[in-house]
Amino acid sequence: MERPAVTVRPGEFRNGSAERGKVFELRDVGVDYGGVPAVKEISMDVHRNQVTALIGPSGCGKSTLLRCLNRMNDLIPGAVVHGSLRYHGEDLYGPSVDPVQARKLIGMVFQKPNPFPKSIFDNVAFGPRVQGRKKGLEGIVEAALRRAALWDEVKDRLGDNAFGLSGGQQQRLCIARCIAVEPDTILMDEPCSALDPISTNKIEDLMVELKEEFSIVIVTHNLQQAARVSDRTAFLMVELDADEDNRWGRLVEYDETEKIFTNPADRRTEDYVSGKVG
C-alpha cells in the first residue's frame, strides 16, 4: 500500500471541503477513574451534521470518551476529566455550566435499550415534560416517533407498555425519546450491538437520515457499520505503560471514513481495519 507523503495528524484535515461548523473541539482530553487513567490526550474536532464514529478494540476508552461529551462521566464517583472540551465554542466543563442543561442539548442512546417502565407515549413525552411542557405533547410525540421511523408501528398502541416492544423497536423508541427533547447532537454508544441484523439495518438507515438535523457521534465495534454509516472515523487503541501495569486509550488516527478504511496513514489503523488485530 502506498504511504502518503504527508502524515495526517489527528486534528488536522486535509480535504478542502466546504467549511463545516464544529460541534466539539477536544484538545488533550483525558479521563481518570480514581487516579487511574482511562484515556489520554485526545485531540479531535467533531463537525456539524456529520456522523462521527469512534472505533477501536475493547478497553480502548471509546465509551469513556463518548461520556465526556455529555457530562455523563460526572455520575461516576472518582471520574476526573482533563484537557479542554469545547461545545460550539463554549467550555463544556466551565464553572458556570449546568450539566443538566448540557444534556438537554447533547442526547444519548445506550447500548442496551433502556425504555422506562411506562407507556410508549409517556416514554417519549418524558423529556419534554421534565422541561416543563404540558401542552402540545401529542404533536411532539408523533413528530419524534416519525423521525425515529417508529410511528407507523406504534401509532395505534401508544398507551401500551414500552416493554412489550421488540429490541429493535425499543431502541428506536429510545432514539425518539432523545429526539423529543430537540437536542442538536446525539451520542450513541454501540446502539446496535444488542440487536438483530434487520433492526441494525433500520437503525443505520435512521442514522444517515438523522444527520441532516442532528450531529451524531457513535461508538461501534462493528467496522462495517462504521464504514457504512459515518463521515469521519476516529481510531483509538490501548497503550500500556512501561511495566505493563496500567493501560489507557489513545487516539491513533482521525480522518474521513473513506480514507481510514482504504488508505490509512498509520500502520496500526491499517492492521485493525483489515482485521489483522482485534
Partner: protein
C-alpha cells in the same frame, strides 16, 4: 447556552430535607441512650455499683430496698436460655430441611407458614403460653416445683416455650438464607464424591453457613431477652434469682413494664431503677445485635 435557566435551589433543599430524615435514626439512638443514661447516673448516686451488678435480691419497693439486678437478669437469662434450647434444634432442623431436603412445593408452603408465625403478635403468644402451654404441656410433665409445692400459676418454662416459638422463625429464616448462599458447586462436588445428603448437609453446608447460623441464634436470643408480653403473662412477676425453669421469675422487661406505668413520678428512686434496668437491657441487646450484624456481613461477603 449551557447555563442553567434558573438556579437550582430546590434540588439542594430537597437533598437537605431527605438527609434530615436519615439523620433521625441517629437522633433516635442518641435519644434512647440519653433517656436511659441520665436517670441511670442519678441511680448510681444512691446505689453502689457493686450492690447493683452483683446483688441477687431485687426488692426496690421494700423497706429497706435491695437493688441487686442479677435477680431480674437471671429471669431474662432463664427465659431466653430455655427458649433457645427449644428453638435452636427446631429452627435449625427446619432450616436444614427447607434448604437441603424439601421439594420445591413443600418449600413454597412451609416458608410462608413460618413467616406467619413470625408475625403473630406477642400478646397472642403470651396468652397461648399462659392458657395452653402452662396447664397442658408443662404442668403435666412437671407438676408443682421441686420443693413439693402446689401447681404454680406461672413458670419460666412456659414463657420460655412461648418465646421459643417466637424464636423459631428468626433462626429458621436467617439460617436458611445463609445455607442458600452456600454455592451449589460445593454441594455438587461432595455429591460427586459419593456423599449422602446427610453428610453434605452436616459436613459441607452447615459449616459453610456457620457465621450466618450463629448470627441467627444471637439475634433470636436478643429478641427473647427483649420480650415483654409473653413473660408478663406466663413467667410471673416475682424477682427470683434462679435458672430453674419450673420457678416463677421476673425478667428485666417485666419489671420495667409493671413499674413504669403511667402514674410513676419523675425523679423518685423507683423511677430511676426503671431506667437503670432498661440500661442494662439495652446494653445486653446492643452487644448481641452488633455481634449478629457483623456475623451476617461476614457470611454475605464471603460469597458475594
Amino acid at each position: 447556552m449551557l447555563e442553567s435557566p434558573r438556579p437550582r435551589h430546590g434540588e439542594k433543599a430537597i437533598q437537605g430535607l431527605l438527609a434530615l430524615c436519615a439523620l433521625l435514626s441517629v437522633l433516635t439512638t442518641t435519644a434512647i441512650v440519653l433517656s436511659l443514661l441520665g436517670p441511670t447516673i442519678g441511680f448510681f448516686q444512691f446505689v453502689p455499683a457493686g450492690e447493683f451488678f452483683f446483688g441477687v435480691d431485687w426488692t426496690p419497693q421494700f423497706e429497706p430496698p435491695s437493688y441487686g439486678v442479677l435477680a431480674i437478669v437471671a429471669g431474662t437469662v432463664s427465659v431466653a436460655l430455655w427458649g433457645a434450647l427449644f428453638a435452636i434444634p427446631v429452627g435449625l432442623g427446619a432450616a436444614v430441611y427447607l434448604s437441603e431436603y424439601a421439594p420445591p412445593r413443600v418449600r413454597k408452603t412451609v416458608k410462608p407458614v413460618l413467616e406467619i408465625l413470625a408475625g403473630i403478635p406477642t400478646v397472642a403468644i403470651g396468652f397461648f403460653a399462659a392458657s395452653f402451654i402452662l396447664p397442658s404441656v408443662v404442668q403435666p410433665l412437671w407438676p408443682g416445683d421441686l420443693h413439693g409445692g402446689a401447681e404454680k400459676p406461672f413458670m419460666a418454662l412456659a414463657a420460655a416455650l412461648g418465646v421459643g416459638l417466637m424464636m423459631v422463625p428468626i433462626i429458621a429464616s436467617i439460617s436458611e438464607d445463609a445455607m442458600a448462599a452456600v454455592p451449589h458447586g460445593l454441594r455438587q462436588g461432595a455429591y460427586a464424591m459419593g456423599a449422602t445428603r446427610m453428610k453434605v448437609a452436616t459436613r459441607v453446608v452447615f459449616p459453610a453457613a456457620l457465621s450466618g447460623i450463629v448470627a441467627s441464634v444471637v439475634l433470636a436470643i436478643s429478641r427473647a431477652a427483649g420480650e415483654t408480653m409473653v413473660v408478663l403473662l406466663a413467667a410471673g412477676n416475682t424477682p427470683n434469682f434462679t435458672l430453674w425453669p419450673n420457678e416463677a421469675v421476673q425478667t428485666i422487661t417485666a419489671y420495667i413494664a409493671t413499674t413504669a406505668t403511667g402514674d410513676i413520678a419523675t425523679g423518685t428512686p423507683e423511677y430511676d431503677t426503671v431506667f437503670a434496668a432498661g440500661f442494662v437491657l439495652f446494653a445486653l441487646t446492643l452487644a448481641m445485635n452488633l455481634m449478629s450484624i457483623r456475623l451476617v456481613r461476614r457470611y454475605r461477603e464471603v460469597y458475594e
